[in-house]
């Protein structure tokens, strides 16, 4: 079954189907392959599909439509069982309106290798707000980013949820390498297309 996709002028959405790859490794597969074929990515957003089995869908926006076609073609070749026709039209619309979804790639022009203040982050990226769960974020709070950001859209705003990790230091609630458990939930890692 071919890769299921939907397109608008500036977005393409596709359903990752039921695959053994984890979310993290799916993302790495896509982003790594885009870099390999020279595809500039403006946005990569993930969504949860809830029709039928739980699974993840991606929307991508790029100025380079030809190379984007190549990415989709390569994905299709490698994941012939990517399947699903559900909700993709809606996802294309949601990407355009920034209604929901989780940003893997988004416009940002600031060093995020270590820590940064919320103010700097908002000023230099597409992130609209930094929100501390269950509390008010202190004005000068440092966000321990460590090179990894996955903000989420909420009604048109791109928001980064953070949590306190020590004193006035905060960190995004999504970490690049959370604790890995256990006896049998591993996948094979990102794949090379």
């Amino acid at each position: 079954m071919p890769l299921s996709t939907k397109r608008s002028d500036s977005w393409v959405a596709f359903d990752s189907g039921i695959t053994s790859l984890s979310r993290r490794h799916l993302e790495e597969t896509i982003v790594n392959h885009a870099a390999k074929i020279g595809l500039g990515l403006d946005w990569v957003i993930t969504y949860q599909l809830t029709s039928g089995a739980r699974r993840i869908a991606f929307t991508i926006s790029s100025q380079d439509s030809l190379t984007l076609d190549q990415l989709l073609s390569d994905l299709n070749n490698h994941f012939p069982n990517f399947a699903g026709e559900f909700e993709l039209d809606e996802l294309v619309q949601q990407s355009s309106s920034k209604h929901s979804g989780r940003a893997v790639v988004f416009p940002i022009d600031v060093d995020i290798t270590s820590s940064i203040t919320a103010k700097e982050l908002i000023k230099n990226s597409a992130i609209d707000a930094v929100i501390a769960i269950g509390e008010v974020l202190p004005v000068n709070a440092q966000i321990q980013v460590n090179g990894y950001l996955r903000p989420t859209f909420n009604n048109g705003k791109l928001e980064l949820y953070v949590e306190r990790v020590a004193g006035d230091l905060y960190a995004p609630i999504e970490r690049e390498s959370p604790h890995e458990c256990c006896g049998g939930h591993d996948d094979e890692g990102p794949i090379s297309l």
Binding site: L26, T50, R54, E163, P178, C182, G183, G184, H185
Partner: protein
């Protein structure tokens, strides 16, 4: 525990004004249905206990007895209070390393009366480990005669998280476990290409089928009893409310509850204090669009993928997921366990390591076992677990110490959970104007509408230092209650908005026994209640609830809680 003490005895009495819950629209029959469900769930033994007060009536006279007047788990002054742990890993798990004997000795040394060995399911485990564990457990039973050592499994629930499966000693136990694992373990199924992977949704039907299969083994007499408790339920947001309800309803009497508190309680200790600096319970994950249930997506006010006061969000949140199950009037019990793999600051490493120092899973996969752990003499700062009994306890109140009776007590909800030795124990007695004897946790009693319900908890305060070296002080106890509204139509229901903290008792006494009493007057509708208590050190902004644990900086000894299981009260 609380039998017949009189020393240092103080009592607090509170009386509510009026019971304001309103479920007058609900047909009376709903209650009957709920009770029938519970009866079925609790099995033959509990049913017999339930009917005991009515025993004077001959069988043929049942129609003359008001069937709504049932008391399940009648309160008794004397039971054995047996501390245990149903989540323990050994060298037969591919991410653990100690022998069965070592784990059992440490648990026994820490005061446990019972333990369940629950190595991870998997192809190598199914093929090689189960028979080896059987022999090791037999040997441990011979060495530790006063300790009940159950053989179990940490089941990779297909399409979901993990769960403890417990079986009593029986000639068929190993073969039943192996067959169950072969047919229904998520990892085994994924390896056999029957499902995409252990977490993928295409495994969900296997989970329900597996529980029904276990129920069939009990019905057929292949094993005397089997129990399942879901482990670390909201750690990754994998166990949706509908899946949990499906397990519960597919196998009443088998699928009985979940870990109210996960293990790995040392995982949140900061690096500067010699810990792994992860999330308490290793709850440091993010919502995952691929597997997490949408309802667990973090919001600006809470994160279901974190622990709160060391307890799983599903249990810790008042009016949350656990309460949504209890509001249905159906059993769902909580436990607290160690999930011990590799212990905080211990000096041992695995017996088979890669050149990078990690456990060599290839070695495990070939044999289903690691060589015995090796003492390096150097404390390891990356381990986040405690030995069985060191921090977490599941205290089961049983009328005997036999394996099956102990399991039946667990099945019946006669369970209290504590952390860090916050209390020695508690006796809960809920009596009514119609049922003066009353019932205890996991139980069900009745009251004529307009009558009174008296809730009493007698707490034995901590009498000895815990393993951090101090005697914990209980500072407050919350009595939580909410209406029983019957089975939900939407199986994904995850909140019970009318459940609330009815009363917070402040505790100033520092030793001995505390008796806290609260009376519900003019009771109009069926409801349930439960207790929790805390050292009061770390609370949410409202000063009542547990706070979200800080990833990378949570000292579990500074934030101690106990939680009871519920009691249901039918207003008739």
């Amino acid at each position: 525990m609380c039998e017949g003490h009189s020393h240092d005895h103080s009592s607090v009495e509170e009386v509510s004004t009026v019971n304001a819950w309103d479920d007058t629209d609900r047909p009376v029959d709903d209650l009957t249905i709920s009770r029938r469900g519970l009866m079925g769930a609790l099995g033959v033994a509990a049913a017999a206990a339930t009917l005991a007060p009515l025993g004077a009536a001959p069988a043929g006279a049942a129609s003359r007895v008001d069937a709504r007047k049932r008391a399940i788990n009648p309160w008794k002054p004397y039971r054995y209070h047996l501390s245990g742990d149903h989540h323990i890993h050994t060298q037969y798990s591919r991410d653990a390393m100690h022998t069965v004997e070592k784990q059992v000795s440490k648990g026994t040394e820490n005061g446990l009366d019972w333990m369940v060995i629950t190595d991870h399911g998997g192809t190598a485990h199914q093929k090689y480990s189960v028979d080896l564990i059987t022999q090791d457990i037999k040997a441990a039973r011979a060495t530790h005669g006063n300790t009940a050592i159950f053989q179990g499994l940490e089941w990779n629930v297909p399409g979901a998280e993990h769960a403890t499966v417990i079986l009593p000693p029986h000639t068929t136990t190993p073969s039943v476990l192996k067959q169950f694992e072969l047919l229904f373990d998520g990892t085994v199924l994924a390896d056999a290409k029957k499902i995409t992977n252990a977490n993928a949704s295409d495994g969900e039907p296997y989970a329900v089928a597996g529980l029904k299969w276990l129920a069939d083994q009990v019905k057929s007499g292949a094993v005397p009893l089997a129990l399942m408790f879901a482990n670390h339920p909201t750690r990754k947001g994998l166990d949706s409310p509908a899946e949990i309800r499906a397990w519960r309803d597919a196998a009443p009497g088998i699928a009985m509850g979940w870990e109210g508190a996960p293990g790995h309680q040392a995982a949140g200790i900061s690096a500067k204090n010699g810990g792994p600096g992860s999330g308490r319970g290793y709850y440091d994950n993010a919502f995952d669009e691929k597997y997490s249930y949408e309802g667990y997506r973090p919001t600006a006010t809470e994160n279901p993928l974190r622990t709160y006061g060391g307890f799983d969000w599903g249990t810790a949140r008042v009016g949350g997921l656990w309460d949504s199950f209890l509001a249905e009037g159906k059993p769902w019990w909580i436990t607290a366990n160690s999930d011990s793999h590799q212990m905080f600051q211990e000096t041992f490493v695995g017996g088979n390591l890669t050149s990078a120092g990690a456990l060599d899973t290839n070695a495990y996969n070939r044999t289903g076992k690691y060589a015995n752990a090796v003492d390096t003499g150097k404390p390891n700062t990356s381990y986040g677990d405690y030995w069985p009994g060191y921090y977490s306890r599941t205290i089961v109140s049983s009328i005997s110490k036999s394996y099956v009776t102990l399991m039946k007590a667990m099945q019946s909800g006669l369970i209290l959970t504590t952390h860090g030795g916050l209390i020695d124990g508690a006796d809960i007695r809920i009596s009514t104007s119609d049922d003066l004897q009353g019932v205890t946790t996991g139980g069900r009693t009745f009251v004529t509408k307009g009558g009174t319900v008296t809730a009493t908890i007698t707490i034995d305060l901590a009498s000895r230092p815990n393993y951090a070296g101090f005697v914990p002080l209980l500072k407050k106890v919350d009595l939580i209650s909410g209406p029983i509204t019957g089975p939900v139509k939407d199986q994904q229901t995850m909140f019970a908005p009318n459940t609330k903290v009815e009363k917070t008792f402040q505790v100033s006494q520092t030793s001995g026994q505390v008796v806290l009493t609260y009376t519900y007057k003019n009771v109009g509708n069926s409801f349930y209640l439960r207790y929790r208590g805390s050292d009061g050190n770390i609370l949410a902004a409202n000063g009542i609830d547990p706070a979200m644990d800080v990833v990378g900086d949570s000292d579990p000894w500074k934030d101690l809680w106990f939680y009871s299981n519920p009691v249901f009260i039918d207003a008739i």
